[in-house]
Subunit: 137 residues, 2 copies
């Protein structure tokens, strides 16, 4: 028994990308209001870009590349606090949402529909018109 | 052109289990404080059990079965509100956390570690001793 040796060192917490094939879910919460704004995924590169720049980066599963949130709309997320969950495979970001809306549909939060009587009812606040921000229409 | 026919009906929002191989992420938020408590996954059965019972059920990827949150500890989550995100592949549950702690480690929230100066610092509040609740030790 080699007490005090390397093998007895407590393990440092570190974000586990292996569990979901290189991705971790990231919950984004408005720092001021506590409103949950969105959920997205990060690969290691998105995570490191987030740490390096202080602005949220995610991995787009559809486009298969890292995505700087707000790069088109200007509605970036300034990361104020980052939390790690118990099994080290999910992060929580508390952010300042520039422009006031996290969702590409123009709503403050992506969770703008609430379940009521077996239906989904629109309850969110629309901050911008996506046609004006992203063009088209 | 058959205007007004079935084919022109707007699509009802519905939770998309296909995108992640039968699972959707579920963010759990404390209804009263706004604190984000945990993230877990639901398969269709967990989702339907949650709706039917009003208490959160999840799918355990480790144990590969549906899990009634709090079934061992008694710390169930009474679901007060459910929200759907823009691309219909994530839900947000606002809950009353019975016993005050969502995390199996005894912390109020699973997000009990905060990133500071490149390290993860313990910042959470421990509500119970897991040895007393789950036995062992």
């Amino acid at each position: 028994m080699k007490k005090g040796s390397f093998w007895y060192m407590p393990k440092e917490p570190s974000l586990n990308f292996a569990k979901m094939g290189g991705l971790v879910p990231a919950i984004v919460q408005d720092e001021a209001s506590g409103e949950v704004l969105m959920l997205a995924f990060m690969d290691r590169q998105a995570w490191e870009s987030t740490l390096a720049t202080g602005e949220a980066h995610f991995y787009s599963r559809t486009r298969q590349k890292v995505w700087h949130k707000g790069e088109t709309s200007g509605h970036v997320q300034r990361v104020k606090e980052i939390y790690l969950d118990c099994d080290e495979d999910t992060v929580l970001l508390k952010v300042e949402q520039v422009g006031g809306a996290a969702c590409h549909t123009g709503y403050r939060s992506c969770f703008y529909r609430r379940r009521q009587n077996g239906d989904w009812r629109l309850v969110g606040t629309r901050i911008f018109d996506p046609k004006e921000v992203y063009g088209g229409g």
